[in-house]
Amino acid sequence: MSKELIRLRNIRMAFDDEVVLNDLNLYINDKEFLTLLGPSGCGKTTTLRIIGGFTTPVSGDVLFNGVRINDVPPYRRQINTVFQKYALFPHMNVFENVAFGLRMPKVEEQLDENGKVVSRRKVKISEAEIRTRVMEMLETVSLKGFETRKPDALSGGQQQRVAIARALVNRPKVLLLDEPLGALDLKLRKDMQLELKKIQQQVGITFIYVTHDQEEALTMSDTIVVMDKGCIQQIGTPEDIYNEPKNAFVADFIGESNIIDGVMVRDKLVKMYGREFPCLDGGFAENEPVDVVIRPEDIDIVPVDQGQLVGTVTSVTFKGMQYDIIVDFRGFKWLIQTTDHSPVGARIGVKIDPDGFHIMKKSQYSGMFGDYSSYSDEYDELSDAEALDDGEDEGAEEERREEGYAE
């Protein structure tokens, strides 16, 4: 679609023997909105810092327009960054913050026809031009009239805009954003997501965005790079990532997924729970064990006698747009999202269309995700270890309750 701007080649990064990035390969196109998505500690921020020039990889190359820039300091890269906590200069007002980059002397290089540097000279931008560019930029981020405010007299959202303006006013080729919306409340975050996307299209440069919020990634990105444990798990458009996850980690991290052990009998026929289901996937060996992903919204509830599978409802949660129903199929719990209400304890049948199945090869993540035994309302909101522990406890409780039903 467009030409390649940045390439990371065989990047390895370690802090004190702890491997953070393991042989990372990635290219980023000009003018694209690329998101590095993953849980904390997956190496996404480190990747961003390597592109920005704040960390040097242990080995591997960073190429910018085909030129190796490993040893180019941050102040000579055509890349600007919006930091997680904004890092606005507290002793300067909004205008001075935004003007900071413009006031720095730029070195202009004259090249001869072979691309060799003939001469360098320092260029200073005139005060009048600085004024126009800063005011223009403040207008872009709707902060006109705030020039003389100090950063600590601004709200979180306004500080955020100043940080974006301060970076963009330098007309970089690439803007790096390190979880820039993390500190904002939900409503503001949604607004800023749309606004960021708008700004990106308006200025027409590459945005590289780091986040652990899958919804944010799906909303804004042209390309999503899903990372875990220092490795890239999948690269693709939001649709690809959602519809065709490569392994159980991606399927679980992006949206909700039921992931079931299965066997690929032959092309377009998958077997699970001892039954064969028609599907659309192929390209596997005969009788190859696979992970089967079924999205909760692709499952239809039908009367028991018409169901491909029959299970028992163990919990129902009203979510506004739909009910989240947990159904027990022989000890494995599925999440079904439906607009029809089924009472707890009801026997229901389910039907899945062939295009509702997504088949994945087995991976190191197989068996780790996709079972909703531990499902609770808090589950997807709190992703720290404590919440997971709580969830497991609840799951155990649910199992006990369910044994009661069996009797």
């Binding site: 704040f54 300091p73 102040y75 930091f83 890092a87 900071f100 980059g101 301060r166």
Partner: protein, 293 residues
Amino acid sequence: MKKNGILSRLFLALVFLFLYAPILVLIVFSFNDSKSNAVWGGFTLDWYVQLLNNRTVLEALQTTLLVSVLATAIATVAGTAAAIGFSSMKRRPRNACLTVNSIPMTNADIITGVSMMLLFVFAGQALADFSGWLNTTAWAESANLWFDFGFDMGFLTLLIAHVTFDIPYVIVAVLPKLRQLDPNLAEAALDLGATRWTAFRKVVLPELMPGIVNGLLIAFTMSIDDFVISYFTAGSQVSTLSMYVYAQVRRRVSPEINALSTLMFVAVLLLLVVINLRQARQEQRRKRQALRT
């Protein structure tokens, strides 16, 4: 709990009496129109006038101010640099450095003073011996050179001593500011095209400034106030105000000394007030910011 019991008030009064009565007597008698330190002979400013006409005093004042200003300037730069170095260390070596840093502050002045004196005497002698040996070499003779690296204690050794005991105070004043500093600030400046030096000057330094100024004021107060360490390291040629006072008192206590001491007391008091006011203001500003966020 009852706040103002008679006993606790009495206790407080006694504490203040013991603390400040001597200074009060000193100040009162600096205006005494009599040579005696026991009999009040009426109000006068004569002792102050005499003081200002005393060349030795003025010289001592000059030495004191010069050594304090220079030592403070050097120590502020060195201490700030050291604090920045400390803060970028890993935790264990940093804690080791901080402990070493705090030893000179808790150490008795007399030990610092004597040990520095010994060091200076030793170094002066060693350098003198070295230049003596150089002068006997054929090379020096043929080149017609005469070396004399030896030195006696004097202004320079006094200055070195002051710089040495000032540095820890600057470090201790600057470190908290560094701890509050957002590590991304310097990176943001680099990101926007500033070189490391510009980033430090335009972004980091203004953030550290309150701490640096506090350190500077404390160092200056310590320097101007010091007697023991100066006494051991100044040699016989130069003397500071406090050394002059000591020398005079050994002969007999003249009211002139009262006047001089009063002036020194007031100067140091003013500095302390300034330091405390600054710290209180910064504390308040920090609290207000914390409230807002």
